[in-house]
């Protein structure tokens, strides 16, 4: 493997690596208490939304909600995932395993995730990390849409990685498949190799290309891989010319924020967390008996599960 200065090559716990962003949680003592409460409750039975609720309900009086975001706890799905995320970040990178679970019964097909993803990563026309496809099933009057949001599957056996002729893409220890924009030559072999259409080429298009002016928002940098990547028409700077993909919002995750699609999901259909954490929501959902993975027969072993 080559040496790259890109911060996406993590080898130590995130607390030490990141200086640009401060994790929102600093009160380690209190977190330890939290963890202990989790274990205690876990010992009594499985963690239900209610149990979590109780834990946080007690917390709310401890600190001012404004100073300590964790005390916003209301026992919601989102809050549980956020706390679990922070807990996972305390572990070394190689002990985390990020997994996404998408509940198709809860998905209403609003595409808010697609929009928030486009906005979070400042995606140009033609590049989409998380489209939502819909299929009509049944006949009137018993007919319904089945919605399938499709992020990158972050496969355990990623065909895109073996296709890359320059080692510009690899699977991190925590399961996220990343691209080194500075090495990628834009051959698009990985795009052809991905059986989920999860990779897109950035051909250098702009919404304002045919208009008199390209607006500011288009050239503003995105923060993928915790680095600023401005996009300017007529420049050869990455990410123009590169392959691009969903990273489970790695840049957000490593500072303790959930992926943009997860926080925006209206129906609470998308869950995210550390599968190595036995008490996590995703661990619970994957074991629910409803979880399926897309194109399992191809042997790619995706990290995205669908509850159908």
């Amino acid at each position: 493997m080559k040496k790259s200065a890109l911060p996406c090559r993590e080898s130590k716990p995130m607390e030490k690596e990141n200086s640009a962003f401060k994790p929102p949680v600093t009160n380690l003592k209190r977190r330890k208490f939290l963890k202990n409460s989790f274990i205690a409750i876990g010992g009594l039975g499985t963690i239900t939304g209610l149990a979590v609720n109780n834990v946080f309900a007690g917390e709310q009086t401890a600190a001012s909600p404004l100073k300590d975001p964790e005390s916003f706890a209301d026992g919601s799905h989102l809050e549980r995932m956020r706390v679990e995320l922070l807990r996972a970040l305390e572990k070394p990178v190689d002990q985390r395993k990020w997994v996404m679970v998408i509940d198709q019964q809860k998905c209403v097909g609003c595409s808010a995730c697609t929009v928030s993803c486009n906005s979070e990563n400042n995606l140009p026309p033609g590049v989409v990390y998380r489209p939502v496809t819909k299929v009509e099933v049944g006949k009137y009057p018993d007919v319904s849409w089945v919605f399938t949001p499709r992020p990158c599957m972050q496969c355990d056996n990623p065909p895109c990685v073996s296709g890359c002729p320059v080692n510009a893409t690899w699977k991190r220890e925590d399961g996220i498949v990343v691209i080194d924009y500075d090495i990628c030559i834009g051959c698009r072999n990985c795009i052809a190799a991905c059986p989920y259409n999860a990779r897109t080429a950035d051909f250098g298009d702009f919404f304002g290309l045919e208009t008199p002016e390209i607006m500011d928002y288009e050239t503003r940098p995105n923060f993928e891989y915790s680095k600023e990547w401005p996009r300017n028409p007529g420049s050869h700077e990455s990410p123009i010319g590169n392959a691009r993909k969903c990273t489970f919002c790695l840049h957000r995750v490593r500072v303790g924020m959930l992926p943009a699609c997860v926080t925006t999901c209206l129906g609470g259909a998308t869950s995210f967390g550390d599968y190595n954490d036995e008490n996590s929501l995703v661990h619970e959902l994957v074991g629910s008996g409803r979880a399926k993975r897309m194109k399992e027969e191809l042997g790619t072993a995706p990290s995205v599960y669908y509850l159908i």
Partner: protein, 385 residues
Amino acid sequence: MLEIALKGSKKYWVWVIILLAAMAVGAGAYIDQFTHGLTITGMSRDVSWGFYIANFTYLVGVAAGGVMVAIPCYLHDYKKFHRITVLGEFLAIAALVMCLLFIVVDLGQPIRLFNVLLHPTPHSMLFWDMCVLNGYLFLNIIIGWNVLESERNQVPHPKWVTPLIYISIPFAIGIHTVTAYLYCGLPGREYWLSAILAPRFLASAFAAGPACLILLCYIVKKVSKFDPGWEAMQTLTKIICYALTTNVFFFLCEVFKAYYSNIPGDKSHFNYLFFGINGHNGMVPWMWTSIICMFIGIFLLIVPALRNNKTLLPFTCIIVIIGTWIDKSLGMISGGFVPSLLDHVTEYSPTGEELVVTLGVYATGLLVLTILYKLATTVKEEVRG
């Protein structure tokens, strides 16, 4: 020996200037593509490889097809091919130059081209493709040059060239096999995910390569005093006939598999190519043209009277080239990507600028070919004169 290329008739120079002009126009279009990115092409999210890679695939076949002259000549000492073997090798060189150029113009970040060498990646088929293509190119340059030089000096070629000649034969098969592996090792792409893809590529290559060579022999005979020999061409036509028939047979095997098994994913690509899906039928006329051309080609090549007709043969070759070109370039790319993995039908057609860049690459290849053939024919005229 290169000085030969600097002396030529008026026609020769006019042709060279035309090619240089075409190259300049192509370069202009490429500068625009370089500045604005591949967004000036017709490629999209669903169809991420286009006309460049399509032509690349076809030309790898043309380069590999040269081995159909080399095998009889060097392995079987088939005397009638001795005169044209160097033409086959030089055709391979020109085709490979175009292949490499097509890869470069297709890159999103062409400046980083040498990352392929800086970060060698043996698990990628593209890396191996780069290795075999360059290897075959250098082998052909060394072999062709030395054989021609020896012919000029009327001595047998140096002994050390012989092992290179033998190595070049598996390399020729290798370039097209690895190119097929670029496609057929990808999970989920049903149209390409076929064990028969590499054999099919080779079959079509062994038709396309010799067909190009026959055409070039006709041109050589017309513009120079060198006669490649009618008998050699007759043998080539038989090779084309077998190869083309095999290609069509392999294709029909694919069609049978898709439709008899009735697997929607396998059928959908053939449906798109030959019948269109939901009114998206841009490829339909092309694909039927290809099939008709290949069948007509087989007919013209099987019937001895038609095969041995000197006036008809160039047209037969053109028909074969059109048929195999559509089949392996446009058909292979569009068939593989459409409908997409999410079952969307996004059609692809190259933009004008893409065509101009392609023209520039072809002009460059033709210039290389012209110069090399000028050397070869002049040397052969000298020797025989």
